[in-house]
């Protein structure tokens, strides 16, 4: 009897202990649940934004030589092509056409905009203009077709010019919405916020000119409308030998942060083939069976038919034997 009591006590002791342990674990796990609440994403460091980070080497010592520039051809040739624009929906009639003009901000009544244009001021790092180039940039949804997982794009993702080049961009927006050609990282003493910006509602073209600095560098070009850059409208202007590549340019550079992809359970043609194969197998099986049963039936009939014949043989023998 005493032994059983000992055992009972021991078991009871273990039981109480284990329950308290269990309770402990439960409270711990609920605390963890709390801690796991998703608080991430709120603390973003602005520095991480890839807009910045173009350190401009501005040669402050070098004197800007204005005499070398040809002042004669300073005609602002930011011709805004109204002809292609679909005025169908909105008849502006006799409304005021206000054109906003200050040193570096030009806007017309439809929001076509040229900001940070520079036709004549040489960057301090340049002695003269190295080349004059015209670049046509097309923008639209259709250019995203060759880049899976994007929605908008420019027709090209990279342009190359020489240092100190005078570049005129003809920005052709082929969509029926707004798009922008926005360049960042330009010297701030020449370009407000270091930006050159063309904006237009398509289908329509807007043109603007800049003079790129003398150093090798790579400049971000993008559309800043919410998620246009994120969804493909991103490119780079490479000056000379260029600098660090800009991340996340379709077909050119990888994203900094990638999505995860997994195999999808999508219906396929081979599924259908498999399905019809199964159907065929089932019908074949029945067909086979029909044949088998048919043959059996024939055999049976034959057999039945033959019974009298077979029976006759031994009978005869018996008769023969008897006789």
């Amino acid at each position: 009897m005493t032994k059983t009591t000992t055992l009972t006590f021991l078991i009871a002791g273990i039981f109480t202990l284990s329950t308290s342990v269990l309770a402990q674990q439960q409270t711990e796990s609920s605390e963890q649940d709390h801690a796991q609440h998703d608080h991430s994403g709120h603390d973003m460091s602005h520095d991480a934004h890839d807009h910045s980070g173009h350190d401009m080497s501005q040669d402050s010592g070098a004197a800007i030589d204005h005499s070398q520039m040809d002042h004669s051809d300073h005609e602002h040739d930011h011709d805004v092509d109204h002809s292609t624009h679909d005025t169908h929906a909105m008849d502006h009639g006799d409304m005021h056409h206000h054109h906003h003009m200050d040193h570096d901000h030009i806007m017309d009544h439809e929001g076509t905009m040229i900001m940070g244009q520079n036709l004549d001021t040489l960057p301090s790092s340049c002695r003269s203009i190295s080349e004059e180039v015209e670049i046509t940039v097309r923008a639209g949804r259709k250019y995203s077709a060759k880049f899976p997982g994007t929605a908008f794009a420019f027709d090209q993702q990279e342009w190359r010019v020489k240092p100190c080049a005078k570049v005129t961009f003809h920005f052709m927006n082929e969509d029926n919405i707004r798009h922008q050609f926005m360049m960042h990282g330009l010297p701030k003493y020449l370009y407000k916020y270091g930006m050159f910006h063309l904006e237009v509602t398509g289908p329509k073209t807007v043109s603007g000119t800049i003079i790129v600095p003398g150093g090798d560098d790579t400049y971000l070009v993008h559309c800043d409308i919410s998620h246009h850059m994120e969804k493909g409208m991103k490119a780079q202007l490479v000056v000379g030998n260029g600098g660090t590549d800009i991340p996340g340019i379709p077909g050119l550079t990888p994203y900094n942060i990638n999505d995860t992809y997994e195999a999808e359970n999508l219906p396929t043609l081979s599924d259908k083939a498999e399905q019809s194969k199964m159907v065929r197998q089932i019908t074949q099986f029945t067909n086979d069976n029909l044949q088998t049963y048919g043959m059996m039936l024939i055999g049976l009939l034959l057999g039945l038919f033959c019974i009298p014949l077979i029976r006759k043989i031994p009978l005869r023998r018996n008769k023969e034997n008897k006789s």
């Binding site: 308290s20 342990v21 439809e110 707004r178 900094n256 999505d259």
Partner: protein
């Protein structure tokens, strides 16, 4: 034998003693130091206090808006005159595209323009960036709360963020989609320019609009009945000339179960036709109408647009999780199950408490008549309670209720997509109003005052009398010893601030700290070691006394057998 009992008892009491000893000494209260919180200003510092005053811009009279975050007066001037009829200086203060609101042609010669073109774009808020670990452009509905959302936005000019250094959204890009105001008889074109990466449409719920238009084709906004989805980069015109006034609703009708919940819905008000009726075509951010229509001014002292909405966190999280539009489409169209969804965020005019105090207060004085237009664009019925007041329901879904049969209530049930027009009278008679105060107005479903489960949040705001307003336009509560600053912290909505710690000096309901002495982890491992010891002891006992056990067992068996034997 006795010593065995002793050992067993000892182990039993030791095990209980561990627990008993711990409960004798409970952990101390840990008080969160206020300095450790990221306390935001009650009023958004980017908004100029000068915007609160009554003023006149471009000949447009703009009523005072004493709350701490009033609308930009330039927005109101542009909305009343049209972006085509204001100076470039005023236009530049709005951030609107010069063709955002075009007003022309006084067709009936009554002194106001009758051709109205409103251009809307579709903007994403708080979406994933492939460039940096964060969201862009950001829009907080409450401190630290950034639900993934889509909105109709007035056509803007320039960047989608405040400026180049910021990831915060341009103030024109916000929840809710803007309130649209036009007049009966106006030839209205709502031009949707789909700047978003998904197909969308506009359905004009309750607005008198033809099912199809000669020039523009089908225009009910429904991809199963009237038109194809409007693809990214495309533009579509929705044209109508409404014959009936009323508070109505516009929303996207493509994959409505997700697109509406994401924020693609707004209020549209058809005002009665009056001479010289220059309307505030857009009320960006809803709330107080600072330039009410002639018809409203005939009967009321003030007008407020109150847009109630609800959002599911899990739905909004999809655009925070993926950048690839195909993955977003897959999760929204093929995987997200609206029947399993729950609403987590309740907003009034795009914001949750305490931000509702910044711009959605109903600021009143005694003996005023205030028109409240209410829309519920959430997925469930709401029940809005006005503390201290009974208001009269004048219109249901834009249609006037028989004036003789109009009723007064203090709880207003509003079904999804439903609109109610209320007449709030601040007559201190114990029925219309119980007198001056800072009276709450809130969705009386308990969850309506929560933000992802955290109270106080949700769509609650106040009907506050001017005498209860402090200098910066917030309700005066400090004289009751109330401090709302804890609500202006993201830590509070992260569930990390014990709000009751401040109710008394010794924080009787503060947060308990960890146990003193042994940590829970050490305690657990100790207990495990103890169990091991017990088990070892048990095995030893069995081994050492195996003979006795054997004998005992034999004896028991024989005892059990013996009765049978004796019977025989």
């Amino acid at each position: 034998m006795l010593n065995h009992i002793f050992i067993a008892l000892l182990t039993f009491f030791m095990s209980t003693a561990i627990t008993a000893q711990a409960s004798l000494k409970l952990p101390k209260t840990v008080k969160v130091d206020r300095a450790a919180l990221t306390i935001e200003e009650p009023c958004d510092p980017i908004i100029s206090p000068a915007w609160r005053e009554a003023q006149e811009i471009e000949g447009v009279k703009i009523a005072a808006s004493p709350g701490c975050s009033p609308d930009n007066p330039a927005w109101i001037a542009a909305a009343v005159k049209g972006t085509n009829n204001i100076s470039m200086d005023t236009l530049m203060k709005t951030g609107l595209s010069p063709d955002a609101i075009i007003k022309t042609d006084d067709l009936d010669g009554d002194g106001d323009p009758d051709r109205i073109i409103i251009k809307l774009e579709i903007m994403e808020l708080n979406g994933k960036s492939p460039d940096f670990p964060g969201l862009v452009p950001t829009f907080d509905i409450a401190p630290g709360i950034q639900p993934g959302a889509w909105v109709f936005a007035p056509k803007t000019s320039g960047m989608s963020t405040e400026n180049f250094e910021s990831v915060r959204a341009n103030p024109l890009l916000r929840l809710p989609s803007p309130v649209i105001r036009v007049e009966v008889g106006d030839i209205v074109q709502i031009v949707l320019e789909n700047t978003h990466y998904f197909p969308h449409s506009i359905h004009l719920h309750g607005v008198d609009h033809p099912f199809m238009h000669g020039e523009h084709g089908g225009q009910d906004g429904v991809p199963q009945t009237s038109e194809r989805e409007l693809m990214p980069g495309e533009r579509r015109v929705y044209q109508f000339q409404a014959r009936q006034p009323g508070t109505m609703f516009y929303h996207c009708h493509v994959q409505t179960h997700t697109h509406l919940a994401m924020g693609l819905g707004g209020m549209i008000v058809i005002e009665e036709n009056r001479p010289n009726n220059w309307l505030q075509t857009l009320n960006i951010g809803a709330g107080q109408v600072r330039h009410p229509s002639v018809a409203v001014k005939e009967q009321y002292d003030q007008e407020y647009d109150l847009h109630y909405h609800a959002m599911d966190k899990e739905l909004g999280d999809i655009i925070k999780k993926y950048n690839d539009p195909r993955l977003i489409a897959r999760d929204m169209n093929q995987r997200y199950d609206a029947t399993d969804s729950t609403e987590d965020y309740y907003t009034l005019n795009g914001l949750s408490f305490p931000y509702t105090l910044r711009e959605s207060l109903i600021i009143v004085e005694q003996d005023q008549k205030i028109k409240l237009r209410m829309l519920n664009s959430g997925g469930e019925l709401i029940a809005v309670h006005t503390h201290g007041h009974h208001a009269t329901i004048t219109h249901y879904d834009g249609v006037e209720h028989n004036p003789v049969a109009q009723i007064m209530r203090d709880v207003f049930d509003i079904a999804p997509a439903q609109r109610l027009d209320l007449k709030l009278e601040t007559i201190d008679d114990g029925k219309h109003s119980y007198g001056e105060g800072d009276w709450l107005i809130h969705d009386h479903r308990e969850k309506g005052i929560t933000t992802n489960g955290m109270a106080e949040g949700g769509s609650m705001s106040s009907i506050v009398y001017k005498s209860f307003l402090n200098g910066s336009g917030m309700p005066k509560v400090s004289h009751f010893g109330i401090d709302l600053s804890a609500y202006f912290t993201k830590e509070y909505y992260e569930g990390r601030y014990p709000i009751w710690q401040d109710l008394d000096e010794w924080s009787s309901l503060g947060s308990p700290g960890e146990r003193e002495g042994l940590t829970p982890a050490a305690q657990t491992s100790l207990i495990y070691a103890f169990i091991g010891l017990l088990a070892g002891l048990l095995i030893y006992l069995i081994f050492a006394k195996r003979e006795q056990i054997k004998q005992g067992a034999v004896a028991t068996i024989s005892r059990l057998k013996s009765p049978k034997g004796s019977n025989q």
